[in-house]
Amino acid sequence: MTHTHIPRISGVLRSPITFSVLAGLVIGALFLVGTGADPLTAYSAVLTGSLGADGIGSTLSTGTSVLGMALALAIPLRAGLINLGGDGQMVLGGITAAVTGLYSPLPAPLTVVLALLAGMAAGAAYAALAALCENRLGVPLLVSSLLLSYPAVSLASYLARYPLKEPGSSLPQTRAMPDGVALPAFGDSTVTVGLLLVVLAAAAYWFTDRRTAFGYEIRMTGLNSRFAAYAGVERRGLTLKLMSVSGALAGLVGAIGVLSFPYRFVDGSLTAPGYTWTGLTAALLAAAAPLGTVVASFFFAVLAVGGLAMERTTEVPRELTQVLQAIVIVFLAARLRFPTKWFSRRTQESGAV
C-alpha cells in the first residue's frame, strides 16, 4: 500500500495486511461461534448495517472522526513518532471550539471558522507541549503525550461540569451553540462539511507525502532516523512540526464534534467512542501511508457502526469489533517488524518511539 507502483494481485494477497485482516475476521468468527451466533449472519449484519441506506450516514459521520484522528496519528507515525495523546488534544480542541462558539461576537459563519481554527490551535499547542517535553526534557514522546492527555481530559470535564455548564441541565454539557454556529450538514443526515475538511486534510497529507521535499524528509526519518539526521534532517524541529500538525488535526476533530449534532460540548462524548484508539489502529494498519489510512479508517468506521447492527440482530456485544481491530494489529505487529515495511535493514531494537 505504501508503494507508488500498483502491486500485483499475488503481492496484495501475500501482504501481511491482508493476512492480518483475514486472520482477524477468522478469529472474530470463532468468537461469534463461541457465543452461539452464526458468523455469516453477524458479518452480513455488519455490512448491511453500516453500508445500507440506514447506516451509511452514520458510517460517514463516524468515519469523519476516525479518519481525522487516524490522520492525526499517521502524520507523526510516518516519521516513527507515536502520539498517544490524541484524546487530550481532541478534547481541548472541542472545549476551545465550544467556548469560541458561545462567546464570539462575530457573525455566525465567521464564528464557525474561528471556532475551527481555535480548536486546531488548542490541539496543536498541547501536542507541541508533548514535543517540547521530548525535545527539551528528554521524556519520550510516547509517554509525555499520553500522560499529558489525562489532565487535559480532566480539565475539559471540569469546565463542562462547572463554569461552562448549561444552567438548569442535569447533564454535564455546555450550552448549545447559538443559531447558525454549526457546520452545514448534507440533507437530513448527520454528515457535515467536517467530512470534507478531513478528506481535504487527507489529500494535503497525500500531496505532502508524495510530492514535497518535506514529505520525503518525514518518510526518510521514519525509515532510518540516523540516516535522516546525517542527511541534515533536524529531528527536534521535525518532531515539533509533526506534533503540531498532529495536534491541530486532533483539535479539528474535537471542534467538528462540537459544531455538529448536538452542537455543544458534552463531557465524554468525544472520548467515549474511542476515536483516538480506532484512529491509531487504522494508522498502524496502513503503516501511516496516506491512501491506506483513508481506506483503513473507512474499514474501521464500517466495523464500528456495523457492530451496532450486529448487536441488534445477533445479540453479540458490539465490543467484538474492538477485539477484531486489536487482533488485526497484533497479527500485523507480530508477523513482521513494523518499520521493516519501509526499510528492511533496521536493527531490531524498538526504535519506533
Partner: protein
C-alpha cells in the same frame, strides 16, 4: 494534619498495583524487552480474578487465575517481540487495546452487564492490618527482585541478555529463554496487580478499570531506572499523589483536579529526573527510549 498515618496508609494501598506491574516492567526492561503492555495485562488480571472469584467463591483462586491468565496473555508479547521479532511498542499498544475490548466483551457475554459487575456475594481478598496479602507480597517481590538482579547468577545473566545479547549468546546463555522468562514473570506480576485492583480495596470489575495505571507503571520503570528499589520509590510517589488527591477531594477540590493529580505528579517527576540525568550525561544520544 495533612500528612498523617492515614495518608501514608492510603498511599501504600494505592501503590500496590503500580508496584507489582512496574516490577514486571523493570525485569522486561533489564532483559531488553520494552513492555508497554502492562496496562492490558493488568486489565486481563482484573477480569479473570473477578470472574474466577465469582464462579468458585474463592478470592485466592481468583488471584491464581489472574496470574495464569495474564501470564498467558503476556505470551503475545513474548512470541511477537522475541520469537517473531515484531515491534514491541506496537504489540504493547495493541495488547492494551485488545484487553479493553476483550474484557468488555466478556463482561457482557459472561455476566450480561455493561460497565460494572458488582455483586455482594463476590469474594474479595482478606485484609491484614489494613492491607491485602498481595500488598505485603509486593514488598517481598521488590526485595527478591533486587537480590536476584544484583547477586544471583540468574539475574546477572538476565541483565547480560538485555545489555549485550550477542555476548550472552556466545557465553552459552540463551537470550530468548531469559527474555521469555522476564515477559512471563511480568505477566504473573501484572495479573497479581490486576487481582489486587479488582479484589483488594474494592470488589468489583468495571470496564477499563486500570485507567492508565499500567502506563504509570511504565513511567515508574523509567523513573526508577528499572531497578527494583527505584521502582518502589517511583510507585510510592504515585501512591502519595493519589492519596493526596483523595484527601484534597474531601477538602472540596473538584474530582477532576484530583483525578489528574497522579499523572501530573508523575510527569513532573519524570521531567525532573530526566533533566537531572541529562545535565549529568551531556552528549547522550537523543531520542533514546529509556
Amino acid at each position: 494534619m495533612f500528612f498523617d498515618s492515614d495518608l501514608l496508609m492510603s498511599a501504600l494501598r494505592a501503590l500496590t498495583p503500580i508496584l507489582l506491574a512496574a516490577l514486571g516492567g523493570a525485569l522486561c526492561e533489564r532483559a531488553g524487552v520494552f513492555n508497554i503492555g502492562l496496562e492490558g495485562m493488568m486489565l486481563m488480571g482484573c477480569f479473570t480474578s473477578v470472574a474466577t472469584s465469582w464462579f468458585t467463591g474463592s478470592a485466592w483462586l481468583g488471584v491464581l487465575a489472574a496470574a495464569l491468565a495474564a501470564a498467558a496473555y503476556s505470551l503475545i508479547l513474548a512470541v511477537g517481540a522475541v520469537t517473531l521479532r515484531g515491534d514491541a511498542v506496537v504489540l504493547g499498544i495493541a495488547m492494551n487495546l485488545l484487553a479493553v475490548g476483550l474484557t468488555s466483551f466478556l463482561l457482557r457475554t459472561v455476566f450480561g452487564v455493561q460497565g460494572t459487575f458488582d455483586d455482594p456475594s463476590l469474594a474479595g481478598l482478606p485484609l491484614i492490618g489494613g492491607f491485602t496479602p498481595l500488598a505485603y507480597l509486593a514488598f517481598v517481590a521488590v526485595a527478591v527482585a533486587a537480590v536476584m538482579l544484583s547477586r544471583h547468577v540468574w539475574g546477572l545473566r538476565l541483565r547480560g541478555v538485555g545489555e549485550a545479547p550477542d555476548a550472552a549468546a556466545t557465553l552459552g546463555v540463551s537470550p530468548a529463554k531469559y527474555k521469555y522468562a522476564a515477559v512471563l514473570i511480568s505477566g504473573v506480576l501484572c495479573g497479581l496487580a490486576g487481582a489486587q485492583l479488582a479484589l483488594g480495596n474494592v470488589t468489583l470489575f468495571s470496564e477499563n478499570m486500570t485507567a492508565g495505571r499500567g502506563w504509570i507503571a511504565v513511567v515508574a520503570v523509567m523513573l526508577g531506572r528499572a531497578a527494583p528499589v527505584g521502582v518502589l520509590l517511583a510507585a510510592l510517589l504515585f501512591g502519595l499523589a493519589e492519596a493526596a488527591g483523595f484527601r484534597l477531594q474531601g477538602v472540596g477540590l473538584p474530582q477532576q483536579a484530583t483525578d489528574a493529580a497522579p499523572y501530573v505528579v508523575t510527569l513532573v517527576a519524570l521531567f525532573l529526573s530526566t533533566a537531572r540525568r541529562r545535565r549529568r550525561t551531556v552528549n547522550s544520544p537523543s531520542g533514546a527510549t529509556t
